[in-house]
């Protein structure tokens, strides 16, 4: 009996050891791949003239979809800001998802909207549409507003937008996100630049807007958030986008195009069935289904990321909102893995099946569970007196320094490419946040993820992932 226990302990230890080592190696690889991807991108950027596209008759049209639920505080400004995007042919489709505030009245008044008899064709099933509005003022001829019955999810709102969209590509964003004015030009470029594959989605870096200097929906100056929780997220975003997504993009294994800003191939998105209103991670879920559809139909596809920051979003600034957000994300991930588990290690699904899916399963989904088990095991060892504290501390230090190194590398890549922020001190300020991540932020994220898994298993009710916003309208200086 005793030896079996010992054997189990030994097995557990070596599994965790292998698991940890693989993770470390993956991060090192990602750092390398992302560097190469960013280098290629920057090289191209030195001789890419986006104004060629801006002035071209051949530019493909893009529909920008912005779902909104009770965003009355800033909705007018946000739409105005979307209308200033630099692109020759685009439309803005604002989906008012049954807001209970006065969003709709404000929109009608400000943009001189009238109801139109719009032939609505639901290619994707959604909650019913009340009305579709267009402006009587030619100045707003790019704007279409959909007023629909609340579908209790962003997914349902975006689907309604896809049904109305007239162009072959759509950009999905949140109405509260601030976009770079060249976002459309830069997102469509990878689609037009691909030789043999069909680019079904492109994404770009997202950043936290909390402390940025913003004036009427325009970022005047980027600053790392003063609020510690938000700053952790800024750091996390730099790492996830600059290092993670760029690295994956280099080997065409991008797992997900973020819901904050992404460009999609409309045909494939519709054929894949659109966003799933029951999903908690609808952006990643759609991406998986689009890849699945492409593989099933022998379409050679690619998903691309660019390192340029094109979108700023308000990050949760307190633990309560962060908890809600991360619980939701974790739940979405669990849901997704459960629903599409057949794809895992299925060679039929190419890189998605052999690399992206297993990675997400082992190192995203299982990570919090393994950490939890590790901590429990540790406590057990402490109780039974089986810990060599000297070695334990050394190993801990090793992981600690390694994680800081990876984060700092990500920040360096970002700095090499874009020199964001005003001064070196601000960068240092952001880097210093990495020192506390291990003890303060990471445990929180793990706990929230576990909470999400718990809700997944017990099946709690679904609602719009709307967080309490402070609103950029007040942030302006």
């Amino acid at each position: 009996m005793h030896s079996i226990l010992q054997w189990i302990a030994a097995f557990y230890e070596s599994t965790v050891f292998v698991y940890g080592s693989v993770l470390l190696v993956i991060y090192a690889l990602l750092a390398l791949l992302s560097y190469m991807a960013i280098r290629v991108f920057l090289q191209k950027e030195t001789y890419t003239d986006y104004s060629d596209l801006l002035s071209s008759d051949l530019a493909p049209g893009i529909s920008v979809l912005a779902p909104a639920y009770n965003e009355g505080l800033s909705i007018i400004m946000n739409v105005q800001s979307l209308l200033t995007l630099n692109y020759p042919v685009f439309e803005i489709i604002l989906v008012n998802d049954g807001s209970t505030d006065n969003s709709m009245e404000q929109l009608i008044k400000e943009f001189e909207l009238v109801r139109v008899d719009f032939a609505y064709n639901p290619k994707i099933r959604t909650k019913p549409i009340n009305n579709i509005y267009r402006s009587t003022n030619t100045a707003f001829s790019k704007l279409t507003v959909i007023d629909k019955v609340n579908g209790k999810s962003k997914a349902d709102a975006v689907n309604a937008g896809i049904n109305v969209a007239s162009f072959d590509y759509f950009v999905c964003t949140d109405v509260d996100c601030i976009l770079d004015k060249d976002a459309l030009l830069k997102l469509i470029k990878p689609v037009m630049d691909e030789q043999s594959k069909r680019v079904i989605a492109t994404g770009a870096t997202l950043r936290i807007a909390n402390s940025c200097v913003i004036d009427k929906g325009v970022i005047i100056q980027m600053k790392p958030p003063r609020n510690l929780i938000a700053r952790f997220q800024e750091m996390e975003y730099v790492r996830a986008f600059i290092l993670g997504k760029m690295g994956w993009s280099f080997i065409n294994c991008v797992p997900n195009v973020s819901g904050g800003l992404g460009l999609f191939d409309k045909e494939i998105a519709i054929k894949a069935g659109g966003y799933d209103p029951l999903s908690f991670g609808e952006d990643m879920e759609l991406m998986v289904r689009m890849c699945r559809y492409a593989c099933d139909n022998q379409i050679k596809y690619a998903i691309r990321y660019i390192p340029t920051t094109l979108c700023w979003t308000e990050g949760p600034a307190n633990i309560k909102v962060l908890k809600a957000q991360r619980t939701r994300w974790a739940r979405g991930l669990a849901q997704l893995m459960y629903a599409h588990f057949k794809m895992c290690f299925n060679p039929r699904y190419g890189r998605m099946g052999m690399i992206t899916f297993p990675y997400n399963f082992f190192f995203e989904l299982l990570a919090p569970l393994i950490e939890l088990s590790g901590i429990l095991y540790y406590i057990f060892l402490i109780v039974t007196g089986g810990v060599n504290y000297q070695y334990a501390i050394l190993l801990l230090l090793f992981v600690y320094s390694y994680s800081i190194m990876i984060t700092t590398i990500a920040i360096l890549w970002d700095q090499i490419a874009f020199r964001h922020y005003k001064s070196w001190k601000e960068v240092l300020f952001l880097c210093s946040t990495a020192l506390f991540e291990f003890v303060l932020y990471h445990p929180l994220v793990v706990i929230f993820s576990l909470r999400g898994y718990y809700y997944f298993l017990t099946g709690k009710k679904h609602s719009w992932g709307n967080m309490q916003r402070q609103g950029f309208a007040q942030v302006k200086q």
């Binding site: 104004s51 200033t84 630099n86 020759p88 030619t138 001829s141």
Partner: protein
């Protein structure tokens, strides 16, 4: 002295138009973006407004429609300078009551001739 308002976010265009139009004997106001453009409307009445279509804060179409409502510019002639050649944008501009649509890269001589023509027309029918 004719008053001309130039709204464009391109620094080069701002500088050049300011110099060239001033030299022609006009009073020139420069606005660096849509927001500034709308603010400068309150300063004085203008005979001519030259505007870009894509700028931060407010796009050109919105500005043009506001120009048409503002007492200082409702009678002003409007010239659009834009690198956009797509039919939709050109049509929308004219629907909104723009007088001239000049594509970038532009000829400065052409711009000056059109400005003079518009001014001459104004005085003829004034």
């Amino acid at each position: 002295m004719n008053r001309i308002l130039v709204i464009d976010d391109d620094e080069i265009i701002q500088n050049v138009l300011e110099k060239v139009l001033t030299k022609e004997g006009h009073h020139v106001e420069i606005a660096k973006n849509g927001k500034e453009g709308l603010q400068k409307l309150d300063l004085m009445p203008y005979e001519i407004v030259i505007t870009d279509l894509m700028m931060p804060y407010a796009n050109g179409f919105e500005i043009i429609s506001k120009l048409k409502q503002h007492p200082n510019t409702e009678k002003a002639s409007i010239i659009v300078i834009s690198s956009i050649t797509q039919e939709d944008s050109v049509m929308d501009s004219f629907k909104l009551g723009v007088d001239e649509y000049i594509r970038k890269p532009m000829m400065v001589g052409e711009l000056l001739l059109r400005v003079n023509k518009l001014l001459a027309n104004r005085s003829k029918y004034a």
